[in-house]
C-alpha cells in the first residue's frame, strides 16, 4: 500500500549490518540456502510452461496443415508433461515456504528474547535518556520488519532473478531478434521508473516529516485542550493546524502521485514491447522464421517479463528498510552492559544493617558532579531522613545504595563489606524499596505482593502484611479479593491504595534494610494516616533511608541529610541542624513561620 511507510530508511552501515545479520542467522544459513535452491527449481519448472503450450499449438497447426488432423497422442503427451511440471513445482514451492516460515518465526522469537534480556543487562543510566517508545518499537516493529520481511524478500529476490534469467534464456532460444526488442525495452523503462522512484522517495520523506510534525502538534493540542480554551487560543490553534494540514495535503498528493506513477509507466513500455512483438512475430511467422506456437509462447513470456522487473526495482528499497530495522535492533543489542560482578554473597538474615559511605563522589554527566566527598556512618537500625527542595537530587542517594549506579570514586559498605564487591542482586536483596512511582505489574494482587519474596512464600505471610498495612478491607471489597487482576495503569485502584500495596509488598519481602519515599501529595487524609502507620510499622528495627516530606518523620530520624542542588550541604539531627541556622533552618522555618 502506498503511504508514508514507503520512505526508504537507510542503514548507517550496510555492510556491517549485513555481516552481523548473517552471523545472527547462524544455523539457519543452511536452511536458507536449501530454500533458495528449492525456489529456483520450482520457478524454472514453471518457466517451461509457455514453451510446451507453444509446442502443442505448433503440433496441432502443422498436422492440420499437413492434412493429418490433430495428433492426439502427441498432444496428450505434452499435457501430461505440463501437469507433472506444474504439480512438482507447486509441491517444491510449498515445502520451501514452510521452511522459510519456520525460520522467520523462530528467528523473530529469538530476537525478541534477546532484546528483553538486554533490557535487564543495561545500566540504569541508559534509561535516563532512552525513550520507552523507542525501545518498544525495536521490540515489535523493527523485529517484524527485519525478520518478517527477510523471508519474503529472499524469496522474491530468488524468484525475480531466476524468472528474469530464465525468461531471457527461453526467449533467446525461441528467437534472437524478437528477444532483442523485449530486452531493449526493459532497461529503458527501468531507467524511467528508477528516476520517478527517486523523486517519489523525496516526497515520501517530506510527507513523513510533515506528518510527524502534525501528529505531535495534535498530541500536544489535545493534551492541552483545556489550556487552549481557558486562554481563548482556539482560533490561533486552529489556524496553525490548518496551515500544517495543508502542507501535509500537498506533500501527500505529490508522494502518492509519484509513488503510483511507476506502474502506468512500466505498463506503457510492456504494451509497446507487446505490440512490436505481435507485429514482428507476425512477420517472422509469415516468412517462416518462427512457428506459430512459438509466437504464442513468446507473447506469454513478454507478459511475464514485466513483473520481476518492477519487483526488483522495489526490492532495493525493502532491503534498505530491512537493514535499517536490523541495524536498530543490533545497535540496541550491542549497547554496553553493566560491568561484570564479583560473586560474594551476604545473606539477608546474617546482616546487622550497618551502612557506611566512604568519600563518595558521583556524577550523572562527567562535567556536573552531583555528590562530592560524602561520608557518613549509619549504625544498625538507624532512621536516616533525606530532605531538600524539589530537584535537589534526593533519589541519587537511593540510586547509589541500590547500586542502580556506582560511585565514580569512594565506596559504600554494608556491615563493613564494600557493595561493589557484592553482586547487584545481592545488594538489592538487602533493601526493601517503596518509591513514589508505585509500579505494579499486570497480574493478580497476590502475585504483585509476592513479587519480592518469590512464589513459594506462604499465603499467610501475605495476609499478615495485608493486615499490617490495613488494606485487608480494601482487598476484600474487590470482586475477586487477592486474585483481582490489576494492570500497569491500574485505574481501578487509587494512588493511595497503590502505595499501600507497594508497602505491603516490601513487608512480604521482609528485607533487613529499607528505602522509602514519603511523597504522597495526592492522597486523602485518612489514607495518608494509614500510609504513615504502615511506614512506621515497616521501619521498626530496620535501618531505613527515607526521602522525607513530613516533619514528624524528619524530627524522629537519627540522621538528617540535607540536600541542595545535588549536594549534601548539611547533616545531623534535627536540633543540631536548627541551631546551625543554615539551609535546613531556612527550609524548616519557611514552612511554619507566620507571615
Amino acid at each position: 500500500m502506498p503511504g508514508p511507510r514507503n520512505v526508504i530508511q537507510k542503514p548507517k552501515n550496510f555492510e556491517k549490518t549485513f555481516k552481523r545479520f548473517m552471523k545472527e542467522l547462524g544455523t539457519y544459513k543452511v536452511q536458507i540456502i536449501v530454500t533458495v535452491i528449492f525456489t529456483a527449481i520450482s520457478v524454472l519448472l514453471t518457466l517451461f510452461g509457455p514453451m510446451v503450450l507453444g509446442m502443442m499449438t505448433t503440433s496441432a497447426t502443422s498436422s492440420i496443415a499437413a492434412g493429418k488432423g490433430i495428433l492426439w497422442d502427441e498432444i496428450i503427451g505434452l499435457v501430461i508433461l505440463l501437469i507433472s511440471l506444474y504439480v512438482i513445482s507447486g509441491i517444491i514451492s510449498y515445502v520451501q515456504e514452510l521452511i522459510l516460515t519456520r525460520i522467520s518465526a523462530r528467528f523473530s522469537n529469538k530476537m525478541r528474547s534477546k532484546i528483553l534480556d538486554k533490557i535487564s543487562r543495561l545500566p540504569m543510566s541508559y534509561f535516563d535518556h532512552a525513550k520507552i517508545g523507542d525501545v518498544m518499537s525495536r521490540m515489535t516493529n523493527d523485529v517484524d520488519t527485519a525478520v518478517g520481511n527477510l523471508a519474503q524478500t529472499i524469496n522474491e529476490i530468488v524468484i525475480s532473478v531466476v524468472t528474469l534469467v530464465g525468461i531471457t534464456a527461453m526467449m533467446l532460444i525461441i528467437s534472437v531478434p524478437l528477444s532483442l526488442v523485449a530486452i531493449i525495452a526493459i532497461p529503458v523503462s527501468t531507467i524511467f521508473v528508477k528516476r520517478i522512484a527517486e523523486k517519489a522517495q523525496k516526497h515520501f520523506k517530506r510527507q513523513r516529516t510533515i506528518l510527524g510534525e502534525l501528529n505531535s502538534r495534535i498530541e500536544e493540542d489535545y493534551t492541552g485542550q483545556l489550556i487552549i480554551k481557558a486562554n481563548s487560543h482556539e482560533k490561533k490553534t486552529l489556524a496553525e493546524f490548518k496551515e500544517a494540514n495543508d502542507r501535509l495535503y500537498e506533500a501527500s498528493f505529490k508522494s502518492q502521485f509519484f509513488g503510483t506513477l511507476p506502474f502506468p509507466i512500466t505498463h506503457i513500455f510492456t504494451h509497446f514491447a507487446y505490440i512490436i512483438i505481435c507485429v514482428l512475430g507476425g512477420y517472422f511467422a509469415i516468412i517462416g522464421a518462427i512457428t506459430i506456437g512459438n509466437v504464442q509462447a513468446f507473447i506469454q513470456y513478454v507478459n511475464q517479463f514485466n513483473r520481476p522487473i518492477t519487483e526488483v526495482a522495489q526490492l532495493s528499497a525493502t532491503i534498505q528498510q530491512i537493514m535499517a530495522a536490523a541495524e536498530r535492533v543490533f545497535d540496541f543489542l550491542d549497547l554496553e552492559e553493566m560491568a561484570e560482578e564479583e560473586e560474594t554473597e551476604i545473606r539477608a538474615d546474617e546482616i546487622s544493617g550497618e551502612v557506611e559511605f566512604h568519600d563518595v563522589n558521583f556524577s550523572y554527566n562527567a562535567d556536573k558532579p552531583v555528590i562530592r566527598n560524602f561520608s557518613a556512618k549509619i549504625s544498625p537500625g538507624m532512621k536516616v531522613a533525606i530532605v531538600g527542595p524539589t530537584g535537589a537530587g534526593k533519589t541519587t542517594i537511593v540510586n547509589l545504595l541500590m547500586r542502580f549506579y556506582d560511585p565514580d570514586s569512594g565506596y559504600i559498605t554494608i556491615d563493613g563489606k564494600p557493595t561493589r564487591e557484592m553482586s547487584r542482586a545481592n545488594v538489592r536483596k538487602l533493601f526493601g524499596m517503596v518509591l513514589q512511582d508505585t509500579w505494579l505489574f499486570s497480574g493478580t494482587i497476590l502475585n504483585n505482593l509476592k513479587y519480592g519474596a518469590g512464589k513459594n512464600i506462604p499465603e499467610e505471610e501475605v495476609k499478615k502484611a495485608i493486615k499490617a498495612t490495613g488494606i485487608d478491607h480494601f482487598i476484600e471489597s474487590l470482586p475477586h479479593g487477592l486474585n483481582t487482576v490489576i494492570d500497569e495503569d491500574s485505574d481501578n485502584i487509587s494512588a493511595g491504595e497503590k502505595q499501600l500495596l507497594t508497602i505491603a509488598r516490601a513487608m512480604v519481602a521482609n528485607p533487613p534494610m529499607l528505602i522509602l519515599d514519603e511523597a504522597t501529595s495526592n492522597v486523602d487524609t485518612r489514607t495518608e494516616q494509614m500510609i504513615q502507620d504502615a511506614f512506621s510499622r515497616l521501619t521498626k528495627g530496620r535501618t531505613s533511608f527515607v526521602i522525607a516530606h513530613r516533619l514528624s518523620t524528619i524530627r524522629e530520624s537519627d540522621l538528617i541529610l540535607v540536600m541542595k542542588d545535588g549536594n549534601i550541604v548539611e547533616q545531623g539531627k534535627h536540633e543540631e541542624l536548627l541551631s546551625m541556622n543554615g539551609f535546613y533552618a531556612e527550609l524548616y522555618n519557611s514552612q511554619f513561620s507566620e507571615s
Binding site: I64, E97, F127, D246, H271, F272, I275, R428, S442, E488
Partner: protein, 587 residues
C-alpha cells in the same frame, strides 16, 4: 468505511474524471489481445498461410493507438486518485480536529485523550491510504474483470466455462484460506499487544524489577507469550504459504485448458488459433482481477475499524453550547458566586457536588480544601464552564456563566491546572500564550512573580529558550511556575489555582503566594490545595467533604469549629504543632 465516501462530494468533478480515465485505461488495455488474435488469424494465417503483412502493420498501428489512449487514462487516474485521496484525508482530519477542539472535559473523558490522538493520527492515515487505493483499485479491478469477461465471451462463447471454473476455484480457495487464517490473525494481534505491554512494564518498572531481583521471573513471563507468538506466526505462514503455489497452479492450469480446448476446436474452425491465444490472456486478466479484489476485501475491514472510530467522534454533539452574543453586562467588580449548585457526571448516580453555595469577592483569597474525591477540582472546573452544573447557578461578576460568550468569560479567568502543561515553543511563547502581547519588561515582571525568573535567567537563551513537546526539558516545578506565569500574564480578574502549588516545595510555594499579593489586589483568587500551609492565610476557606460544604471561614475559626478541618490539620502537623495552632486559634 463507505460512510467516508461522503467526503467525496466536493470533489465530484475530479471523481468523475477519475472514473472516465480508469474506464479508458481498462478499455485500451483490453483491446490489445483481440487485435493480436486478428494479427494471427487475418494476418499470419491469411491467404492460405502466405500472410498479409500490410494488414499486420495496420493492426499494429491500431494497437499503438489503443495503448496510447490507455496510457493517458492511466496517468490521469494516477493524478486524480492521489489528488482526491489526499484532499479527503485533509478534510477529515480538519473536521475531526475542529470537533475535538470544541469538546468539553466530559466528552474528552468519554474517549480519553490518548484515544482521540490515535483517531486523528493513525486512523486517519489508514482511512486515507485505503481511500486512495479504493479510488484506483476498486474502480479499475472490477472494470478490468468485467471488460475482460465481455471481450472473452464475444471472442469465444463456447470457452466461457473455463473462466467460470477457474474463478470459482480461485474464490473458493481464497475464502477457505482466509477463514482458516483470520482468527489466528486476530490472536496474533492480541499476542503482539501483550508483547508490547510486557515490554512496557519491563521498562517502566525497571527499578522495581531490579530492586526485587526479578529479572528472571519477568523473562519467563515474557517467554511464554513469545513462544505463543512464534507458534501463531508459523501457523499463519504455513496456511498463507499455500496461497502462492495454488495460485500458480490455477494460472497455469487455466492456460493449459485454454490451449487444449482451443486446439480441439482448431480442426473445424481455423480462427480458434488467434482466439485461443487471446482468450488465454483475457482469462489471466480475469483471474488476476479477482485476486486483487480479494486483497482489497482483506484491507477494507481494517480500514473500516478506523473509519468507525473516526465517525464515533464526528457524531458527538458537544453538550456545552456557548452563547453567540452576550445577554447581560457583567458587573465592574469581579466576583464568583455559587448558588445551590449540584453536579453529577453524565450517567453517574451519585452527585459529586451537593448544594454548594459561597461567594468569593474581589481582593480576597478563597481556598478549597478536602480529601481526594471531595469534589474540589470539579467545583473549580464549573467556573470556566469545563462542565455545566446539574442544577443551581454559577455566577461570574453577577452573570450566569451560561450567558457568557466563551471568549468573554475566558478573558476574565486565569486558570492554572493541577499539572503544569506547556506547549512546544519558547519560554516566551508559553508565558504569553493567553495574553495580548505584553512588552518585555512586563513579561519579566510576570516571571518574577511566578518565581520563574531565577531559573529562566540560568537558561542559555533566557526567554527565547526552547520548550520541547510536553515541556519535558524543564523540571516539574519549573513547568508549574511557567504555567502560573501564563495565567498571571493574562491579567485576569479571577485567578484559579487548581492544586497548582503542590508541585512546588514549601519555600517556593510561600514566596510565590507573597509575590502574588500585589497583582491580585483587586482580583478574585481561588485556590484548591492539599496542604494546610497553603490555605491557612486565606480570607475564606471552604472545607469540602464528599461533595458537601462542611465548613466555611478562616483558619482559626475552622480549627475551633470544623471537625474535618481539624482532622486534616492533625494529619499534617506534629502533635505539638497542632496543639500550638489550636492554642493560637483560641487566643
Amino acid at each position: 468505511m463507505f460512510k467516508m465516501l461522503r467526503y467525496l462530494r466536493p470533489y465530484w468533478k475530479g471523481a468523475l474524471i477519475l472514473v472516465v480515465s480508469i474506464g479508458i485505461q481498462a478499455w485500451g488495455t483490453l483491446r490489445l489481445p483481440t487485435l493480436m488474435s486478428q494479427i494471427v488469424n487475418d494476418g499470419i494465417a491469411a491467404n492460405n498461410g502466405t500472410g498479409d503483412m500490410s494488414f499486420i502493420i495496420l493492426t499494429g498501428l491500431k494497437m499503438v493507438a489503443w495503448a496510447g489512449i490507455s496510457a493517458l487514462g492511466a496517468l490521469s487516474s494516477a493524478y486524480f486518485s492521489a489528488k482526491i485521496g489526499s484532499a479527503i484525508g485533509r478534510d477529515i482530519r480538519e473536521d475531526l480536529f475542529k470537533k475535538i477542539l470544541s469538546f468539553s472535559i466530559s466528552e474528552i473523558d468519554d474517549f480519553s485523550t490518548a484515544s482521540l490522538i490515535t483517531r486523528t493520527t493513525n486512523d486517519i492515515s489508514t482511512v486515507q491510504n485505503t481511500l486512495i487505493m479504493m479510488l484506483s483499485m476498486m474502480l479499475r479491478v472490477p472494470m478490468m474483470a468485467v471488460g475482460a469477461i465481455v471481450e472473452a465471451v464475444i471472442l469465444a462463447p463456447d470457452m466461457t466455462w473455463i473462466l467460470a471454473l477457474s474463478v470459482g476455484i480461485l474464490v473458493g480457495l481464497i475464502i477457505v484460506i482466509l477463514a482458516a487464517v483470520m482468527p489466528k490473525f486476530m490472536l496474533y494481534q492480541k499476542l503482539i499487544d501483550r508483547i508490547n505491554l510486557l515490554t512496557r512494564e519491563n521498562l517502566t518498572g525497571l527499578r522495581v524489577i531490579r530492586a526485587f531481583n526479578n529479572e528472571k521471573y519477568e523473562a519467563e513471563k515474557f517467554d511464554k507469550t513469545n513462544k505463543k507468538v512464534m507458534k501463531t506466526d508459523f501457523f499463519i505462514g504455513a496456511v498463507m504459504g499455500l496461497e502462492s503455489p495454488l495460485m500458480m497452479l490455477i494460472f497455469n492450469g487455466t492456460s493449459l485448458l485454454c490451449i487444449y480446448i482451443g486446439i480441439s476446436h482448431l480442426e473445424f474452425d481455423a480462427s480458434y488459433l488467434g482466439k485461443m491465444m487471446a482468450f488465454m490472456q483475457y482469462a489471466i486478466q480475469v483471474i488476476l482481477s479477482f485476486f486483487f479484489l480479494a486483497i482489497i476485501f482483506v484491507m477494507i475491514p481494517r480500514a473500516s475499524v478506523s473509519a468507525k472510530r473516526i465517525n464515533e467522534v464526528l457524531k458527538v454533539n458537544p453538550k456545552i453550547k456557548w452563547k453567540e452574543k452576550s445577554i447581560k453586562k457583567p458587573e465592574e467588580e469581579p466576583s464568583v458566586e455559587f448558588k445551590n449548585v449540584d453536579f453529577k457526571y453524565a450517567g453517574a448516580d451519585e452527585e459529586v457536588l451537593e448544594k454548594i453555595s459561597f461567594k468569593a469577592k474581589a481582593g480576597e483569597t478563597t481556598a478549597f480544601i478536602g480529601s481526594t474525591g471531595s469534589g474540589k477540582s470539579t467545583l473549580i472546573n464549573l467556573i470556566p464552564r469545563f462542565y455545566d452544573v446539574t442544577s443551581g447557578e454559577v455566577l461570574v461578576s453577577g452573570v450566569n456563566v451560561k450567558d457568557y460568550v466563551m471568549d468573554d468569560l475566558m478573558k476574565k479567568i486565569g486558570y492554572v491546572p493541577q499539572r503544569g502543561f506547556l506547549f512546544s515553543g519558547t519560554v516566551k511563547s508559553n508565558i504569553l500564550f493567553g495574553a495580548d502581547l505584553t512588552n518585555e519588561k512586563e513579561m519579566e515582571e510576570v516571571a518574577r512573580i511566578a518565581q520563574a525568573e531565577e531559573f529562566i535567567s540560568r537558561l542559555d537563551e533566557k526567554y527565547e529558550s526552547k520548550i520541547v513537546e510536553g515541556g519535558t526539558n524543564v523540571s516539574g516545578g519549573q513547568r508549574q511556575r511557567l504555567s502560573i506565569a501564563r495565567a498571571i500574564a493574562k491579567k485576569p480578574e479571577i485567578y484559579i489555582f487548581d492544586d497548582a502549588f503542590s508541585a512546588l516545595d514549601m519555600k517556593t510555594d510561600k514566596k510565590l503566594r507573597e509575590a502574588l499579593k500585589p497583582v491580585t489586589k483587586n482580583a478574585v483568587v481561588l485556590i484548591v490545595a492539599q496542604r494546610v500551609s497553603t490555605v491557612r492565610l486565606a480570607d475564606q476557606i471552604v472545607v469540602l467533604d464528599e461533595g458537601k460544604v462542611v465548613g466555611k471561614g478562616k483558619h482559626g475559626e475552622l480549627l475551633k469549629s470544623c471537625k474535618v478541618y481539624q482532622e486534616i490539620c492533625q494529619s499534617q502537623f506534629s502533635e505539638e504543632e497542632y496543639e500550638r495552632e489550636v492554642r493560637d486559634a483560641r487566643a
